[in-house]
């Protein structure tokens, strides 16, 4: 016992030292380029310490997990949606559900402030806010038989809070889908290679769906293997299409791609799940995990050097071309997924709490999966920071600023204070077989350039174009999956709400209801998508802050629910665990909304922007970047809608927190904890380790129960032990 304790102290001291040195290098070295390895070390050491100490403190002391208590999976086991699932398998499911394009896109955009602010927020944010939110919501939902966030908000805060939460979820879904679809549009516009490869995923998915439904029901692995093979062939074939007579057919304008996506979104969401969504989901999950793994290996093997500055001048002057506004609050809005993402609370109060085997596993699954997502975000900021800053700004500044030729882009970048020659811009595009890289905003093309640099560093320059399109394809693939799944979730909420007024809408299988509600949801995000694509000011520049604000609004709802539940349970002294992240999140979101609504700088404030263009329009003038009166009108409309939304989100946050504060005061005044809404405890019959590897005590306990090293079930009536599915 003494020896293990001493060993543990030595190991954790070493981890802390490595972390401290790495942070020192990342934060203090100026004037010379550092290796990306330092960011990796700083991140991993911080995660290890946070997981070992802070997450354990939260589970044991703050939440009071109890492994003698049966989880909903054990009590309500129905062999389908409620069932005890091996922690490592559930970690895989949970991670696949929370991680998507978000942690890859946000950090790329935030790199305009330099790599340091983004990296600090990703790591500190996940440790104290993001992972805490995910784990706490998972815990509270698990104690309530897997109740959703919306239900918990209604039950714990009240009807006002509940409605606000529902509206927030719906709003974020619409903005999220529009922004993600916009990322795809910008990645595929005028790129026959990318467009062809992505278009091929539709027949591939149909084929897989048919195979899985009719020929070999349930054989997911062989179906996925076939799908992945075809997918890689489609990427290779894209290179040939690019150089063939078919190229013109797949060279689409941004508007055309936007309409294709809108049409796809509608059709995909009304088709049965087995045809398109289910097979796509297998493909994109496989690609997602595979590519993230490859990226980690690539960075560790090639150890690239950071080209970006640690902190750029845009952090303080707020005049960055990628998105407007200063470091505070806009870095914390732009990087949501990877640091703190409200959307995760929907997953943590969805399927995961119904499948968790032991209460203590929330640390591995809730906190651990979010740390992993944060690591993905760190890799994304590395990928965006190892490319030449001049190229970065030429790609990420809106066309309004950089124009559409390499000459105009080179000039504009020089004016920003960075260097890139027209020749270098043409060469960079030619290296990945693209017509141009100028104003390819949205993050995906930049990430793809970074990834192709990393991968081709390991595999040779000849494969650069393949790796670029591989990266584009993988992002576009899972964005389309999210678009399909998200449209369905939005539709389901709408059906549910309309069902209260017009009965047939409540029946999810009523076809006219399905079509009407799908059309409404697709129409809503489609409007924002089209407005973003045609916005002369740049869609990403305008919409991404709204997406960030919406996501952080949902995080505010989740953290408010968490804080309320802690206070109601008589744990006021621990309420800071969710209270401090909530205060920070509210400060960030409200400041950002305030600036977006009230700033008199037309680049930053939506209404100032509206006034500027409206005034010019009244004079009959056309102001750049608008090229026509039509452009002027669309800027005025977009700015008005965006401004109203920003104000609306801010009001929602204030309403939720104010309504919850009423409950807090009541709970604090009460002499005893308020009546609990938890399901009453039932004694657990299951044994299983809590972390990735069983500890020595857990091994002894498992052996005592006669179960395998990874868990099993105590006998109920006789001596016989049953163990499930032969876990290794």
């Amino acid at each position: 016992m003494q020896a293990t304790r001493a060993r543990s102290i030595v190991i954790w001291t070493a981890v802390a030292l490595i972390g401290a040195v790495a942070w020192g290098v990342v934060a203090l070295v100026r004037g010379e380029q550092i290796s990306a390895a330092w960011l990796i070390f700083a991140a991993l050491a911080s995660y290890a310490i946070a997981y070992r100490f802070y997450a354990r403190f939260i589970t044991r002391t703050v939440l009071g997990i109890d492994d003698k208590r049966a989880t909903p999976a054990e009590r309500l086991d129905n062999g389908v949606d409620f069932q005890p699932t091996d922690r490592r398998v559930l970690f895989g499911h949970h991670f696949a559900a929370i991680a998507g394009a978000g942690p890859l896109v946000g950090p790329v955009l935030a790199a305009q402030m330099g790599y340091l602010p983004g990296t600090i927020w990703i790591i500190v944010g996940v440790v104290f806010a993001g992972a805490v939110q995910d784990m706490v919501i998972l815990f509270f939902s698990m104690r309530r038989d897997g109740k959703s966030l919306g239900q918990m908000a209604r039950d714990e805060i009240g009807p006002v809070g509940g409605v606000a939460a529902l509206v927030a979820v719906f709003a974020i879904m619409i903005i999220l889908l529009a922004v993600l679809a916009l990322v795809v549009v910008n990645a595929l516009a005028d790129s026959p290679w990318g467009t062809f490869s992505l278009a091929m995923t539709i027949p591939i998915a149909f084929l897989m769906g048919f195979y899985l439904r009719v020929l070999r029901p349930g054989r997911v692995l062989e179906t996925t293997a076939i799908g992945v093979t075809l997918l890689l062939l489609a990427i290779v074939a894209g290179g040939f299409v690019q150089d063939s007579s078919l190229a013109d057919a797949f060279t689409l304008s941004p508007e055309a791609i936007a309409f294709c996506l809108i049409g796809y979104g509608f059709i995909a969401s009304v088709l049965p799940v087995w045809m398109l969504l289910a097979p796509r989901d297998y493909l994109s999950t496989f690609m997602k995990v595979g590519v993230i793994g490859l990226l980690a290996i690539g960075i560790v093997v090639t150890l690239p050097v950071m080209q970006n500055e640690a902190v750029t001048k845009f952090a303080s002057n707020g005049a960055g071309p990628v998105f407007a506004g200063a470091l505070f609050p806009f870095v914390f809005i732009t990087i949501a997924c990877g640091a703190l993402s409200g959307f995760h609370s929907l997953i943590a109060s969805g399927t995961t709490p119904k499948m968790i085997e032991k209460e203590s596993q929330i640390r591995f699954i809730g906190y651990g999966a979010m740390l992993t997502e944060s690591f993905v975000a760190v890799m994304a900021i590395i990928a965006a920071s190892i490319i030449d800053p001049g190229l970065y700004y030429a790609m990420n500044a809106p066309a309004a600023l950089v124009g559409d030729t390499v000459q105009s882009a080179s000039q504009a970048v020089n004016q920003l204070g960075f260097q890139v020659s027209p020749g270098e811009l043409s060469a960079a595009a030619a290296a990945v077989n693209e017509q141009t890289l100028v104003a390819r905003t949205g993050g995906a093309p930049t990430l793809a350039i970074g990834m192709s640099n990393i991968f081709s560093g390991a595999t040779g320059e000849g494969l650069k174009a393949f790796w670029y399109h591989f990266a584009i394809m993988f992002e576009a693939l899972f964005i389309l999956t999210t678009v399909d799944a998200g449209t369905r979730v939005g539709r389901f909420m709408l059906q549910d709400t309309l069902g209260n007024v017009i009965k047939p809408f409540g029946r999810v299988s009523w076809k006219p209801g399905v079509w009407i509600t799908s059309a409404i949801v697709v129409g809503a995000w489609g409007w924002f998508l089209y407005a973003g694509v045609t916005n002369p000011l740049g869609g990403i520049n305008q919409l991404f802050p709204l997406f960030g604000i919406a996501n952080q609004l949902l995080a505010a709802v989740a953290l408010t629910v968490g804080t309320t539940l802690l206070i109601k349970a008589g744990k006021l002294k621990w309420a800071w665990v969710t209270g401090i992240p909530l205060a920070w999140d509210a400060a960030v979101t409200l400041t950002a909304s305030y600036q977006k609504v009230f700033s008199d700088n037309p680049k930053l404030g939506f209404f100032a922007q509206r006034d500027k263009f409206k005034a010019a329009l009244d004079q009959g003038d056309v102001v750049a970047p608008a090229k026509s009166v039509g452009d002027m009108h669309s800027i005025v409309t977009n700015s008005t809608v965006d401004g109203v939304l920003a104000a609306f989100f801010a009001i929602l946050i204030v309403v939720v927190i104010a309504d919850a504060a009423r409950v807090w005061v009541k709970a604090i005044r009460a002499r005893e904890p308020l009546p609990t809404t938890e399901t009453p405890p039932v004694e657990s019959q299951l044994v299983a380790p809590s972390g990735l590897f069983p500890t020595a005590e857990e091994r002894a306990l498992l052996a005592g129960a006669g179960a395998g090293a990874n868990g099993g079930r105590f006998a109920r009536t006789d001596e016989r032990q049953t163990q499930r599915s032969g876990r290794p």
């Binding site: 069932q83 499911h93 349930g218 997911v220 087995w274 979730v489 290794p728």
Partner: protein
Amino acid sequence: MTVREALSGVRWYLREVSGETAYERYVEHLRREHPDEPVMSRRDFERWRQDDRDANPRARCC
């Protein structure tokens, strides 16, 4: 750990995480908890499981 053990571990993980073992778990659950109830065939079970996702959509995050 031998190579063979490692490979069988990977196979086990992929089968579990992809849902390929869902049917086995369903059959086992039914035998254990409701031995009298009829067991769906694999084809029927997989159909039912896929169609259930139509009625209960799951969000994917960003």
